[in-house]
Symmetry: C2
Subunit: 584 residues, 2 copies
């Protein structure tokens, strides 16, 4: 089937004098997660992972995937004739590097609407002969349609600022410059609207342009309820058809145009008349939305209490249920149910449940078909979160299903201490995540252990569970926000871990709120406050491996969890929470 | 007198159609410390501090100085008519900003040989009309001459690499590009030569140019001993007169020219024919010299043992002498003598001795005329170092002169722990100083205290005591090396402190060597080893304020100090060292 599809594509390529065709995993908005409509890569390669890219030439096809998917990609592309390029292995080039190295005098094409401006500019800089053309839509059979669901409003009691207030702030900041925004989270944030277009992330497909003191929103009119439409009108938002976005861009002239090349499609970028002055920068809206206002903070705290109730019920169930006969997927379903049957209107991402060695795979998630059976022993890692109108949650706990070894207790205690080492810091304003990261790692590094990922990421407000800045990681990366100073109002995750391949994995994650602390002759100090309200598993703690400060902060955290969550529980649940949050 | 001098200068300005004249504190090499010949600022302003700049226009003169010199500058410029511009105070512009803001349509002049290319390029970028002209040499009476002392050689047993080996490495790296070096430390390092031109830093005034596979050294021939001259000839180094440097530069053509705009004069930069392709970058020689080789490391350790002997004798003297009747300057002289009468051929900087509140001023150094009397109580901070053929040292200890308060013990213990928190870290290769800095600060930040300087700086090898990279500081700064990854072979200082104005100051400083640690599946780990071999004052430690790991590492450090230093002591000294390095 894949061979037939690639054959059809090659025919299209030949008809259009294209030598090489590139297919990635983006939508028109460079979103982290994409809707079914955009899963073109899966259609042509059978690869179902969340990130990858396919390069097809007249003879061969190459699938580029990272370490998470090395095994999965081999299995899914079996008998397709596709060569799997395993990024991270020695000598394996990235898709960009591969294009630059191998197709210097060829016509390299792609659909310019689903690749970023930054990606293509890099190819052009290296002398490639590029062309934007959609060669796949015609031959893509039974393609899922774009979502046409109605938008809905997030009330001011959740957002703190009205739509008009937010638009005014941006307009004042732009001072008549033109600003093109394709990023869905930014648009949903600015308009206090939400939608169902992308699983787990309540956004809707649309573009926005601030131009000559007007605000244009590109979206199908019939997706907007009457009452919101008239509000938008009152707030000065001019609606244009979703598809007219690219044409509109062509008409912009004599302006300073601000774009983020990583978050705008090449097609959009290419359509900007070059007589304008174009500047690449992170959108001011992104910084605005990562600094939660007082109302958002209060709501987020409420969301985390609701989440704490659901998680407490889950932990109580897990710890008091015979695991024999159950598997990881059963537990995942159960955990999701506790959230959705209480206050969450959705999950915030695909729940991760990993038993023992499965937890050592950072992105493992069980399915109905593929999972491991559980027993009344060992440890279970659960990383999950919910979408509430009050906020978005993301929390990881590792839990004992029975007796565990001393080694596991040692590592659990160490990860707990590492998490608190970051959580309890007080620091001078101006520090960025790359300078704080070492706090969560130093005790692991002392043993010669590291985790191959960041320590933490920003979390959206009724938006994507990944939002950057802030970003807590020492690893350098372009545009990843790790060098952006932490700001009061940032909410972000603190999630160190240990991962021993084939043996076990332990991760613990709280979300932290960045707050003002002391202001004195040395400057403004900041510190963090945990917003996650879920107990840690005392069955996995060995006090010998904790320093005094960690014991102190753990007991104080547990006391707070009890205080905040217990009012929402019945007597039996409260009794149980009291027990598992006892001081040690 | 100053008024007369400024009057002469204004006459010169008028004769040459110059509206504004700028005088800074650089030599022809953009050195951190300068020789007497270059103290033009002092001649025209009476200001004797190490850093400052003077702007003279037809009416007024402005002296720009930083926080260290606010009081001193007022005193020294009394009755001169000069306005003191106190940097750091609200609304006070830097000299550059002041020039840009106030002299848009004027002719702004300076001696282009003693200002950096970066400084002038910034003025030009902001539209200033600049001109390079020496207006002061003619009217500068009794100006100290340039040094004409002979150079001397540093033997291969100290340098590890021969001159020819070093030159070959640079040539290979340059691959026929042209490289202009005015930095004195880089030249002394490359040639394995030293001189006496700058107090405390054993370098000699000269420039070097790598051009068309040849190496040119610009220096007066008669400063080079016969035997070295013939070696230089054998090693392919072509000698040219010191003054011919600027003319030589004009003759460079059709080349790629590498310069560091911060370490080359504007005159030199300006003379480069712009048909060459000019690139600004940190010199490869600077990175080479900060990565000490095996021989240099062994020698440096030896130098630090010698330094430990001198410091032990000093501490023994201090702790067993009646302080009544003595002052800070007496102690400074005594400390210097212990070094110079043992193995040091020079000091590495002007010794800092501060008693109680004087130690809270970071750059305080007593003189014969200005010092404070000592008593048998309170604390004394001494920050000092020596130049040995084996290496350069820099060490700070704070010592009790008698009974001290509980508060002082608390802060001393905290600073000690902070120093060890950085010293004991094990970390992934690739981390830069700005990401490690938090380790030395977090325990102080927890109390809402900070020190307004970096935690540490690189230290040269028989060169300047300040050498960057590495640089351990969270504060951003252009070109300060804080974002350069730590490398095995780096030797740098670890010197946190607390400074309470008008009360007391505590600083503790060890030099650390960066070394390879474990290599495993997570990557290459690095760690530090202390090279400084001087005990900490147990009279100032209160164990209640130390965590267990700090006590452990302190005892182990003291055991090492005893083991390394005791073989060089007499019985009485050894006995004393044994006592003050006892385990606690």
């Amino acid at each position: 089937m894949i061979r037939k599809r690639l054959q059809d594509l090659r025919k299209k390529m030949a008809d259009n004098h294209v030598d090489v065709y590139y297919i990635g995993t983006n939508d028109y908005h460079m979103s982290e997660y994409i809707s079914e409509h955009f899963k073109t890569l899966r259609y042509f390669s059978n690869f179902s992972g969340s990130l990858g890219s396919l390069i097809v030439d007249s003879e061969n096809a190459y699938l580029f995937i990272d370490g998470r998917y090395h095994t999965q990609a081999d299995q899914e592309t079996e008998d397709t004739g596709i060569t799997v390029m395993k990024l991270g292995k020695k000598g394996v080039l990235t898709a960009s590097e591969f294009l630059i190295q191998n197709y210097k005098d060829k016509v390299v094409a792609f659909d310019g609407r689903v690749v970023s401006a930054a990606f293509v500019k890099n190819l052009i800089k290296h002398g490639l002969n590029v062309r934007s053309i959609d060669l796949y839509s015609d031959i893509y059979e039974d393609r899922p349609a774009l979502s046409n669901d109605m938008l809905y409003e997030l009330d001011k009691k959740y957002t703190g600022l009205t739509r008009r207030q937010k638009l005014d702030i941006v307009k004042r900041g732009l001072d008549n410059k033109t600003h093109i925004i394709s990023n869905l989270e930014s648009i949903a944030y600015l308009l206090n609207l939400r939608g169902n277009d992308i699983t787990y992330t309540p956004v809707f497909l649309s573009h926005m342009i601030f131009y000559q003191n007007d605000v244009y929103l590109f979206i199908s009119l019939d997706r907007i309820p009457e009452v919101i439409l008239s509000e938008l009108y009152d707030d000065g938002v001019i609606i244009r058809p979703y598809e007219s976005f690219y044409n509109f861009i062509s008409s912009i002239n004599s302006s300073v145009v601000l774009i983020d090349e990583n978050k705008i499609s090449y097609e959009a970028y290419h359509n900007i008349n070059k007589s304008n002055r174009i500047y690449h920068m992170r959108s001011v809206v992104e910084d605005m939305k990562t600094i939660k206002n007082k109302t958002e903070i209060e709501n987020s705290k409420m969301a985390h209490i609701y989440d704490g109730v659901a998680m407490l019920r889950f932990i109580k169930w897990l710890k008091n249920t015979d695991m024999e006969g159950l598997n990881e997927y059963d537990v995942k379903v159960k955990a999701n149910r506790f959230r959705l049957e209480y206050k969450a209107f959705d999950l915030s991402f695909n729940t991760i449940v990993g038993y023992n060695e499965n937890a050592a795979m950072m992105h493992y998630s069980p399915t109905k078909e593929k999972n491991s059976p559980l027993h009344n022993s060992g440890i279970l890692l659960i990383d999950s979160g919910g979408q509430y109108f009050e906020g978005t949650t993301d929390i990881t706990r590792t839990l004992a299903l029975g007796e565990v070894s001393d080694e596991i207790k040692m590592y659990y205690s160490l990860v707990l201490q590492s998490m608190f080492n970051l959580a309890r810091v007080k620091f001078i304003e101006g520090l960025s995540g790359d300078k704080l990261d070492i706090l969560a790692r130093k005790d692991l590094w002392e043993l010669g252990i590291d985790y191959r990922c960041g320590t933490g990421h920003g979390v959206g407000q009724v938006l994507s569970v990944h939002e950057m800045p802030p970003n807590i990681r020492y690893q350098k990366g372009s545009n990843n926000g790790a060098d952006t100073p932490l700001r009061p109002g940032n909410i972000f995750s603190d999630e160190p871990g240990v991962y021993f391949e084939g043996r076990f994995g332990i991760r613990l994650e709280n979300l932290l709120l960045c707050k003002y602390d002391e202001l004195n002759e040395y400057g403004q100090f900041l510190s963090f406050e945990p917003v996650t309200m879920v107990p840690f598993d005392l069955d996995l703690i060995d006090k010998r491996y904790l320093d005094n400060k960690t014991v102190e902060i753990l007991n104080s955290y547990h006391a707070t969890v009890y205080e905040k969550v217990s009012p929402y529980l019945n007597d039996e649940e409260r009794e149980y929470l009291k027990y598992i949050t006892r001081a040690i």
